[in-house]
Amino acid sequence: MHSIPGRRLIMGLFLIFLLLPIYWLVNMSFKTNAEIVSTMTLWPHTPTLQHYKRIFTDESWYSGYINSLEYVILNTIISISVALPAAYAFSRYRFLGDKHLFFWLLSNRMAPAAVYALPFFNLYSAIGLFDTPWAVALAHCIFNVPLAVWILEGFVSGVPREIDETAFLDGYSFPRFFIRILVPLIASGIGVAAFFCFMFSWVELLLARTLTSVQTKPIAAIMTRTVSAAGMDWGLLAAAGVLTIIPGALVIWFVRNYIARGFALGRV
């Protein structure tokens, strides 16, 4: 691959642009509130862990992380398990209305969450799922299931059809072929799809906030509580923000070679 002159400089500047705001957040999370408000310091002069301590010891804070993880994981499992057979069907067969169905799925990936916030609220209240992780997990399926189908379809199409035919000749039944042969073959694809479901469910707030009230409030919604009569608790807000970046930063390492392919919906 051939690059352009001055590429090190351009890359360096761009990475600094990306990292500087994040650094500022991390920096603030280690400062005392007095230091944040009174002086402008480029690094914490009196470093403190008080904000992190508060989050890890106060249940109303750390339960937010657990709530978020709960619906995110639930959503990932639902999305992948329904998307796998569909991805296989779209990749291997032609059937009545397949193109329309595919377009319909894609159109849901693109639907604005704001449109669905209120009807979802009514729907899940009516069936008694409001304020449970299931409500958010199901609501997030609207954009994650299409995404998972798209990504997995790309990976299934990469598996040669001869493998299916050989397996069926060897007397494998369809479910057995699916679980024993196909799933291991596209394991990396499943990993990538799971990562993207995890990610889009993790970063979404509007639906998650609308569909929960007390029991299952996501961390992102709890963060808004730092605004109080006594003013803003900036340090605490920053610490909570830093902690929401960590899960993404951890999983990203495992899929670094597939990131672009996933964002292109498996179409690169």
Binding site: A83, P112, A249, A264, L265, R267
Partner: protein, 300 residues
């Protein structure tokens, strides 16, 4: 590889169909139902026919004025961020290191903003831009630029745009990088033998190979920026005044703020229709690009 016709494949698709239908079709029907009615609270509804839709498309009414103004702002926003993010993304992708550990380091750093919850992205920039405690706001004011995104509409716009560039340029860059990686080394060697200039290589080899991913990038960015809600809401709350109120923010204001269900539902439908049309263009272009590619690959 031709696909075989098999209607039983519907059974494999059925779970997806049911899950998505449950979370898409049912709510959409509710929206259609609301859009024809008016409510005065207490769950009392009155038939209003297409009244809301008429009002929505008429700029002289309150609802129509707000909708069309936010639509205009949203389109302007989408165009501005596309004009910045696409060229910048290409330049960043071309600047990627060739090999070694720096490649992985760059990829991970690039992807980092994409994985931050959207409201935290808002929070990061809200803090970063504040004149009293934020590095950016403080520095700008210290060198004599009067910058305050809370009270000045232009500053608010700049902040929201820079935030979006920060958040999403990496996506364009990663997609372009994937496109560039698929170019065989032999192409470059041939170009070198022909004595092609750097610009000629970009125009004749790299750009055509990036066509497909660029298309995906442009359309994804257009649609996602067209539905943007959380980040500007956290930073500016749609203000000062209404200067950064985009369509989604206006919609949530009407639906959950004023609980004007009829108006909100009508707005939702028109909004969704616009997205659907753009999406259809996207899909058609994508599938056509896919079918055009095959004979080319066969020839190569």
């Amino acid at each position: 590889m031709d696909k075989t016709v098999n209607q039983k494949a519907w059974f494999l698709v059925l779970p997806v169909f049911l899950v998505v239908a449950f979370s898409a079709v049912l709510p959409l029907m509710t929206v259609v139902n609301y859009s024809m009615q008016d409510t005065f609270g207490n769950n009392q509804f009155f038939w209003n026919g297409v009244g809301w839709f008429k009002e929505l498309l008429d700029p002289s009414t309150d609802l129509g004025g707000r909708f069309l103004a936010s639509l205009g702002r949203n389109l302007f926003f989408s165009l501005v961020i596309l004009a910045i993010e696409v060229p910048l993304g290409i330049v960043v992708a071309l600047s990627m290191p060739r090999d070694g550990w720096t490649v992985a380091a760059c990829l991970v750093t690039l992807a980092l903003p994409l994985l931050i919850p959207w409201n935290v992205v808002g929070t990061i920039w809200q803090i970063f831009g504040r004149p009293d405690i934020g590095l950016l706001g403080y520095t700008l004011n210290a060198i004599g630029i009067d910058y305050n995104y809370v009270s000045n509409a232009v500053d608010a716009w700049i902040t929201v745009i820079v935030m979006d560039v920060w958040h999403w340029t990496s996506l364009v860059a990663l997609l372009c990088y994937a496109g560039l990686k698929s170019i065989p080394e032999a192409y470059y060697q041939a170009a070198q033998i022909d004595g092609a200039s750097r610009w000629a290589v970009f125009k004749a080899i790299q750009l055509p190979k990036m066509n497909r991913v660029l298309l995906i990038a442009v359309l994804l960015r257009f649609m996602d920026s067209f539905m943007i809600y959380t980040e500007p809401f956290v930073v500016t709350g749609g203000g000062p005044g209404n200067s950064t109120t985009f369509v989604s923010i206006e919609l949530v204001k009407i639906a959950l703020g004023q609980f004007d269900l009829g108006k909100a539902a009508a707005l939702s439908l028109v909004y969704n229709l616009i997205i659907l049309i753009v999406c259809w263009i996207f899909y058609t272009v994508m599938t056509n690009a896919g079918s055009e590619r095959k004979p080319q690959e066969g020839a190569a």
